[in-house]
């Protein structure tokens, strides 16, 4: 037989790796690219196809012998151990079927991709199904069978398939969906529960599409996916989320979400409720926040938010807001900042809680604690007095009376008896002082009333008129007739009396005594100041003891060390306080602070 050798030679330079074989499957020619493709030496003489592909099936050879085209993908192990997938295409080279050209293509990459896709399908537990309505056949892929937990030789039909769906709403729904799909070609995609052959309940995703010709559904095909774990996680997440939501709602917690990059703040409905504002009335939520926050807290709170964004300090703070009706609420705020991989903050989520009621309780508790502490202090003073003043007088009496028994002169005896009398009257006086101290109880505010100041001072001056005239003191009262302070009237009188008599007692003998009483009304408190030009006191030395019981500071025989102690107690019982400024030989000024709105001084 004649051979067109030039034609055979033409493949020598073919870019596609290929060989030409004769009818006996003996290689007669090959392309140069083939040597490179199979990594063969250049001067090699090829004869048998099996030199190239050891595993090429005899069947393939037979096909070539029968002059048939064929395509096969064959795995080949390289000399260096690598696996390659080679697609072999064989077709007759010339019309007479004398020679065949076989070309090779490396499809390793495609094959791997395909495997990966298969694997992904297995991992994702995606199966498929088709229904041939004409022949009434249902086909399930292996994965679909695995999901149903049936063996691979299970033969499904439409009825069996549908009966896997859980009785009740799941089965009813799939019946309806399939019927619609058959009737009108409407696709479906639904998450449903099946009960597998082994009796397990499973969430699946069923997707179905209709095959239609001439407006008639001839078949259905679809995808069947096991979504059980995802679905259950989702259900659990929703359940937890719902529980959290209930917790947040009942705890009166508002949640906000701040997009730092776009400067966009979102509030949930609870936040609007907490801040007592209408959602529609504001354009920007941040402006709204700023507008409601108490002016005294604004700078600090904004600074703390900034610090949180900069990662310096977590946000966990409290501030006050002013509601529309003017009332003040205390807000507790906590937040978390989210940073991107570069460490830049991009989002901040926080929670706000109205802690006003807690705060009030806390304040009341603190107030009670304060009262208790003061009572304790008074008790301590009381025991100090028991220890000192009572004992000093009683020990004098016992010492003197004991000595009366010894042989003393009649004069001395008389003197001792007089001293015993003095001691016992001192004892009596001490007990009176103690009584006064005990009487000043902490008030709960009910006894505190608006009391006119000037009238009260004038009454006090009137009551000690003789003393004032004797001291030739010049008293100036620069107080408006109408001024009133929150006070307990008898205490207020007692305070004024004490300060006035102190000024007279400790006047500078070289100067005319001048006393000035003034008042200053501030927003929260009224301050009444008592100034004199008396001998004053060295506060560096005595400042701390100034208002303690039985502390005296001058060599004055009249000094008892009780007046300022009682004055301080009176002021505190009226929720006020007393302060002193003084310089030796310059005079003293006492400032009396009264609260204007029956709240505690801090």
């Amino acid at each position: 037989m004649k051979t067109n050798t030039s034609a055979l030679h033409s493949i020598k330079h073919s870019l596609i790796p290929s060989v030409i074989v004769d009818k006996d499957i003996q290689i007669v020619e090959w392309s140069e690219t083939l040597l490179h493709f199979f990594k063969l030496e250049k001067d090699l003489v090829l004869k048998e196809l099996s030199e190239l592909l050891a595993d090429i099936a005899d069947a393939s050879k037979n096909q070539i012998a029968l002059s048939e085209n064929f395509t096969e993908t064959i795995p080949v192990i390289n000399r260096n151990g690598q696996e390659r997938w080679i697609k072999v295409n064989a077709y007759p080279f010339c019309d007479k079927g004398e020679f065949f050209q076989i070309s090779f293509d490396d499809v390793t990459f495609d094959k791997n991709q395909f495997d990966l896709a298969q694997q992904a399908k297995r991992m994702a537990k995606v199966g498929s199904w088709t229904v041939d309505l004409v022949n009434d056949k249902l086909f399930w892929s292996n994965m679909t069978k695995t999901i149903h937990e049936v063996s691979n030789d299970f033969i499904p039909d439409l009825e069996k398939g549908i009966n896997f769906y859980k009785e009740g709403k799941h089965r009813d729904l799939i019946i309806k969906l399939v019927a619609e799909c058959i009737e009108s070609g409407k696709s479906f995609d639904e998450e449903l529960i099946i009960v597998t052959a082994k009796g397990n309940e499973k969430w699946v995703r069923a997707i179905g599409n209709a095959d239609r010709t001439n407006n008639k559904t001839i078949g259905l095909r679809g995808i069947f996916q096991d979504i059980d774990s995802v679905k259950r996680q989702q259900i659990e997440y929703e359940r937890v989320n719902k529980r959290l939501r209930i917790a947040i709602d009942s705890a009166n917690v508002g949640v906000w979400d701040f997009d730092i990059i776009h400067n966009n703040l979102i509030w949930d409905d609870k936040m609007y409720e907490l801040y007592d504002v209408n959602k529609k009335d504001f354009n920007g939520v941040y402006d709204l926040w700023e507008s409601t926050i108490h002016p005294e807290d604004k700078e600090r709170a904004a600074f703390e938010v900034e610090q949180a964004i900069n990662g310096k300090k977590e946000l966990n703070t409290e501030f006050r807001i002013i509601k529309q009706d003017g009332s003040i609420a205390h807000i507790h705020a906590e937040a978390e900042v989210f940073w991107n991989k570069k460490g830049a903050p991009y989002r901040m989520i926080g929670a706000n809680m109205d802690v006003t009621r807690m705060k009030r309780k806390d304040e009341r508790l603190r107030h009670l604690l304060n009262v208790t502490e003061k009572q304790n202090q008074r008790l301590l003073n009381f025991t100090n007095i028991v220890s000192h003043n009572l004992r000093s007088n009683s020990s004098n009496i016992s010492m003197l009376s004991g000595m009366l028994k010894t042989n003393l002169s009649a004069d001395k005896q008389r003197e001792f008896i007089e001293m015993i009398q003095t001691s016992s009257s001192n004892l009596d006086e001490t007990i009176v002082h103690l009584n006064e101290t005990i009487k000043i109880q902490a008030t709960d505010g009910r006894e505190i009333h608006q009391t006119p100041v000037k009238e009260c001072i004038e009454n006090v001056i009137e009551s000690i008129n003789a003393l004032v005239i004797e001291s030739s003191a010049k008293i100036t009262i620069k107080i408006d007739e109408s001024l009133k302070v929150n006070a307990i009237k008898p205490y207020l009188g007692s305070v004024f009396l004490n300060l006035l008599t102190n000024s007279i007692k400790y006047h500078n003998p070289k100067k005319q005594l001048k006393i000035m009483v003034t008042a200053k009304v501030l927003q929260n408190q009224t301050i009444i100041s008592f100034s004199d030009n008396g001998i004053g006191i060295d506060l560096k030395k005595h400042g701390l003891k100034m208002f303690q019981m039985y502390k005296t500071f001058h060599n004055n025989k009249d000094a008892k060390g009780i007046g300022l102690f009682i004055t301080k107690n009176h002021m505190e019982a009226m929720n006020g306080k007393i302060e002193v400024q003084s310089e030796p030989n310059q005079g003293s000024t006492f400032h009396l602070y009264f609260m204007n709105n029956s709240k505690k001084l801090r």
């Binding site: 016992s398 003393l408 001293m419 060599n555």
Partner: protein
């Protein structure tokens, strides 16, 4: 040497009078000088320290006094001429029975004793033994 002097420091006149009579009975060889507070006795002691033989042998010191109390005086004496601390026997004589006061007195090395009122002749006899 020191003189036969006792400094009685107390703001309570009645106590001073009664104590003086008692001291006259038990320590008759001594002269008793009265001081009403810590500052008065401090000024006197500082003056006497220059001629140390004039310092008193015994100081009876009350705690609760105006102007300068007993503790304040003791603090001042810490940095005063050492003759005062060495030559004078100092007894605290107080109506306070508070343990704090008693403990505080122990922190001063130059204090010889702590006596609670009323002062008795037994107290003075004990002091006399130490003076001899």
């Amino acid at each position: 040497m020191t003189t036969n002097k006792i400094f009685l420091v107390d703001d309570d006149l009645i106590f001073r009078k009664a104590a003086t009579v008692l001291l006259g009975q038990e320590l008759s060889e001594f002269d008793v000088e009265h001081f009403e507070n810590g500052l008065e006795v401090y000024n006197e002691l500082i003056e006497l320290a220059e001629a140390s033989e004039k310092l008193p042998q015994l100081i009876l010191l009350d705690i609760n006094m105006p102007v300068m109390n007993g503790w304040e005086l003791l603090e001042e004496l810490k940095s005063a001429p050492h003759q005062i601390r060495q030559q004078c026997q100092i007894y605290i004589l107080t109506s306070s029975i508070a343990p704090e006061d008693m403990n505080l007195s122990k922190t001063y090395e130059f204090i010889n004793g702590y006596i609670t009122k009323p002062l008795t002749s037994e107290d003075l006899k004990r002091i006399a033994e130490n003076l001899a």
